[in-house]
């Protein structure tokens, strides 16, 4: 019986899907630079807007976005509470709101990163990922290794599901409604998963050594649209850097 694994990639023919994998890899790199460089919440909101635009254009599955964003809500709340802890204890809710405002840049950074990266990854055929990495100059072995890690993420999910099935038959109930017990039992599932990953290591390395991997990504030249998208990304990052350290204002409006 085939395993069913939730795969982020969606096989659509959109303007984002058609972009060169090298450009997508470079855009992801630029995103992380931008997050550290953007000087204010207003600049950071560009990442959120860009991410939303990408999500719409790429027809990114909204469930993925919502789930991944929702996972971080406790982090957002914790950031605000820690920043405004004094105000919370003194009942000064205006102070809490101020603290929230102070951390808005961080919340937007997180949100933008999720929107952009999930949207981009949903358009990169996983098999093109290592090709894209090679195309931007990463050594073939490293690119292949990263691609393999991406693959292992999925196959480990498959294995976890299959091992959990056997473990349920051997006495682990693995019921969500008992979260503490579920976590404790999950640890017991993780052991054979880990053993399998370790056992598989030499075989994968053997296969890689025998099949080989080349540096040539065989991607050809970038199209005009690819260059234009990349130029926009570079311009935004450069703009934010100039705003932070140069003459541009740190607020956009």
């Amino acid at each position: 019986m085939p395993s069913r694994v939730p795969v982020l990639y969606r096989d659509h023919d959109t303007v984002v899907h058609r972009r060169d994998p090298r450009v997508k890899v470079l855009l992801l790199g630029l995103l992380f630079v931008f997050i550290f460089v953007a000087p204010s919440a207003q600049w950071m909101s560009l990442a959120v807007l860009g991410g939303l635009l990408l999500a719409v254009l790429a027809r990114t599955p909204w469930r993925w976005l919502v789930v991944l964003w929702a996972i971080h809500i406790p982090t957002f709340v914790a950031l605000i509470l820690i920043g405004g802890w004094g105000s919370v204890t003194s009942g000064d809710w205006a102070g809490v709101i101020d603290a929230g405002g102070a951390h808005l840049r961080l919340v937007l950074a997180w949100t933008g990163a999720i929107l952009v990266s999930v949207s981009l990854f949903s358009t990169i055929d996983p098999d093109d990922l290592s090709r894209g990495l090679r195309g931007v100059g990463l050594p073939a072995a490293a690119a292949f290794g990263l691609g393999l890690a991406y693959r292992l993420l999925y196959t480990t999910l498959t294995e976890t599901a299959s091992i959990a099935e056997t473990m349920r038959l051997r006495g682990l109930r693995l019921e969500w409604r008992r979260p503490i017990r579920f976590i404790a039992e999950s640890v017991q599932v993780s052991l054979p998963v880990l053993f399998n990953v370790v056992r598989r290591g030499p075989m994968l390395m053997s296969t890689m050594q025998i099949r080989g991997y080349s540096q040539d990504a065989q991607l050809g030249r970038l199209r005009v649209a690819d260059v234009a998208v990349l130029a926009i990304g570079v311009a935004v990052v450069v703009g934010s850097a100039v705003a932070r350290w140069g003459p541009l204002p740190t607020t956009l409006i």
Binding site: S162, T166, M167, R200, Q209
Partner: protein, 584 residues
């Protein structure tokens, strides 16, 4: 000219004193197909890795002696999923081609050709994720990817066990086509297969070469076969029973031998009151079924197999086998029986419990289930702890040691294995540990999904003995299997699944007879070996006993060819619905 020269090779893995290979020497000629055989732990896989140049570079450890190989080596490992490096099936084959300079279009074209070559041509795998494929499809995909590297030496390490009859025949055809053109090192424990295709055999035992010779020399030697953990090839077993003067190793040679005799010795050595006669009417035949599957539908939202209108019953003391091609729905049925899946329509009642109303963990106390790859879920420090785990988790520790020991003996595990780390055992032993771990609850129903995959000959015998024991205790057993020799050996009744529907159902001796060859082949199910031989000489048989009996009574066979066009026997399938579209 020698293509492989292994000279006095010894090897030990890191942090161990034990020599896995101990002074191994042999040569393989260019274009030769060499069978490498031996019991679990004999060092076969390690030797293959040494020939492929992966030892000690990948494994670590100490290697002495020399291995010389002319040309590139390709290797397909036993673990199908662990050697796939890409996410999409097509990319698995195109990637090595593109690595070697092929353009995208050329690589895709060649990949499709290779997939066709290994028997995956008609299965629309191109866009599928590798984890969506069955174990057999994964093995064939790895083979296609390996062929894409254009190896001069092809090593196949225990890959046949995962394949259904059609895929297996396809790989055998490929090996025959490659004969002479490519050197092949074939690790297998199927003596019939080795007799058919191998030029020579090397027998490994505890890391040493026990014997080297042709299949004719070695497979007829009981001592060598015992050392190699090999069964008797079907042709040879039949020839011995029929007291034929020659020792045929292929179906053609068997047919020639039978024809050469002209008139078979009267009487043969048939056992008219053999165990199958006993199995036809178990004492619990009239009991209420322990497994009742009523009009069950099940469907996945994706392309995975579905079941439609499935009806099935298994009574106490009955061993029921479910046969079917890859994707027919066998594993889905197993998951329905142990409560991991729930039917969309219909009901599944096992040991008087509706599986929809009970948690699988509770059901597992009465229904022992061994899923495919159960050996990969072992996690305890010792085999003893592994077997005891199900009872410990449920705090049922009364007489635990006795129960562990009882089940150890039931599955045929040696006592000295109990303190061993299960992860360090050969796969064949890990499979038996997984089986023991399931049976330790002393269930009323046993469900086994492809239990013989990865088992050695000895392991299969132990499994058959365990099933016979369970059967004698009135346990209802359901197994899924694609090896019809195993089914004939252990099962009473059979259900043939085809794309999620019941294609045929009935006693094993009626459904797996040689006269049903075409019907079974259409469902991608092979005949048992005795049936193949019977078909070749134009008689009707299912087991070796049938064959001996039929040949002893029959006039000399017509030399014009097999009479597979004979009408089927009077007993027809219980149900034989026309397969509908969709599903797998």
């Amino acid at each position: 000219m020698n293509c492989i020269e292994v000279d006095d090779v010894s090897f030990r893995y890191p942090a161990t004193e034990h020599l896995v290979l101990d002074g191994v020497s042999f040569q393989v000629h260019e274009g030769e197909l060499l069978g490498l055989v031996g019991p679990p732990g004999a060092g076969k896989t390690t030797l293959c890795m040494a020939v492929a140049g992966l030892v000690p570079g990948i494994t670590g450890g100490e290697l002495s002696g020399s291995v010389r190989v002319e040309g590139a080596v390709g290797i397909v490992f036993e673990d199908p999923d662990g050697q796939l490096t890409q996410l999409r099936a097509l990319s698995e084959v195109t990637d090595p081609l593109r690595t070697r300079g092929a353009s995208r279009d050329d690589a895709v074209r060649e990949a499709h050709r290779l997939l066709e070559r290994v028997g995956l041509g008609g299965e629309d795998l191109a866009g599928r994720w590798v984890w969506e494929l069955s174990e057999g499809q994964q093995v064939l995909l790895a083979l296609a990817a390996t062929l894409a590297t254009q190896p001069d030496v092809l090593i196949l390490d225990t890959v046949m066990g995962s394949l259904d009859a059609t895929h297996r025949a396809g790989v055998l055809g490929l090996l025959r086509d490659e004969a002479g053109a490519r050197t092949v090192l074939l690790v297998e424990q199927d003596a019939t297969l080795l007799g058919e295709v191998a030029d020579r055999l090397v027998v490994l035992e505890e890391g040493r070469v026990r014997a080297v010779g042709t299949p004719a020399e070695l497979l007829d030697d009981d001592a060598v076969r015992a050392a190699a953990d090999l069964g008797t090839p079907g042709t040879l077993a039949a020839a011995r029973r029929l007291r034929l003067p020659s020792r045929p190793l292929t179906t053609e040679a068997f047919r020639a031998a039978v024809c050469g005799v002209g008139r078979l010795p009267t009487g043969g050595t048939a056992r008219p009151n053999g165990h199958h006669g006993d199995r036809a009417a178990p004492p619990w035949r009239e009991d209420r079924p322990r497994i009742q599957v009523r009009n069950v539908d099940f469907g996945h939202p994706d392309r995975s197999p579905a079941l439609r209108g499935l009806d099935l019953e298994v009574r106490p003391g009955e061993v029921h086998a479910v046969l079917g091609h890859t994707g027919a729905g066998k594993s889905t049925l197993v998951r329905l029986l142990c409560g991991l899946l729930r039917p969309v329509r219909g009901s599944v009642v096992v040991d008087d419990q509706d599986t929809a109303t009970v948690h699988p963990t509770d059901l597992a106390l009465r229904v022992a289930t061994v899923l495919q790859d159960a050996d990969q879920t072992l996690s305890q420090r010792t085999v003893r702890d592994e077997i005891a785990l199900s009872l410990r988790r449920r705090k049922r520790t009364d007489g635990l040691d006795d129960r562990v020991d009882r089940v150890r003996r039931l599955v045929g595990l040696p006592e000295d294995v109990l303190p061993a780390d299960p992860l360090l055992l050969p796969r064949a032993h890990r499979m038996l540990v997984a089986l023991a771990a399931a049976l330790v609850v002393e269930p009323a129903v046993v469900v086994l999904d492809s239990p013989t995959t990865g088992l050695s000959h000895g392991g299969r015998l132990r499994l058959a003995a365990a099933l016979a024991d369970l059967r004698s205790r009135g346990v209802a057993v359901l197994i899924t299997e694609h090896d019809t020799d195993v089914v004939v050996e252990v099962a009473d009744t059979v259900t043939v699944l085809d794309r999620g529907t019941v294609a045929a159902q009935g006693p094993v001796h009626e459904l797996l007879r040689s006269t049903r060859r075409a019907e079974l082949a259409a469902r991608r199910i092979g005949l048992p070996t005795a049936g193949v031989l019977a078909d070749a000489v134009g008689v009707d048989a299912c087991t070796l006993d049938d064959l001996v009996e039929a040949l002893s009574a029959a006039p000399p066979p017509d030399t014009d060819g097999p009479s597979s066009t004979e009408p089927p026997p009077a007993v027809a399938p219980v149900t034989a619905p026309a397969p509908t579209g969709g599903g797998a």
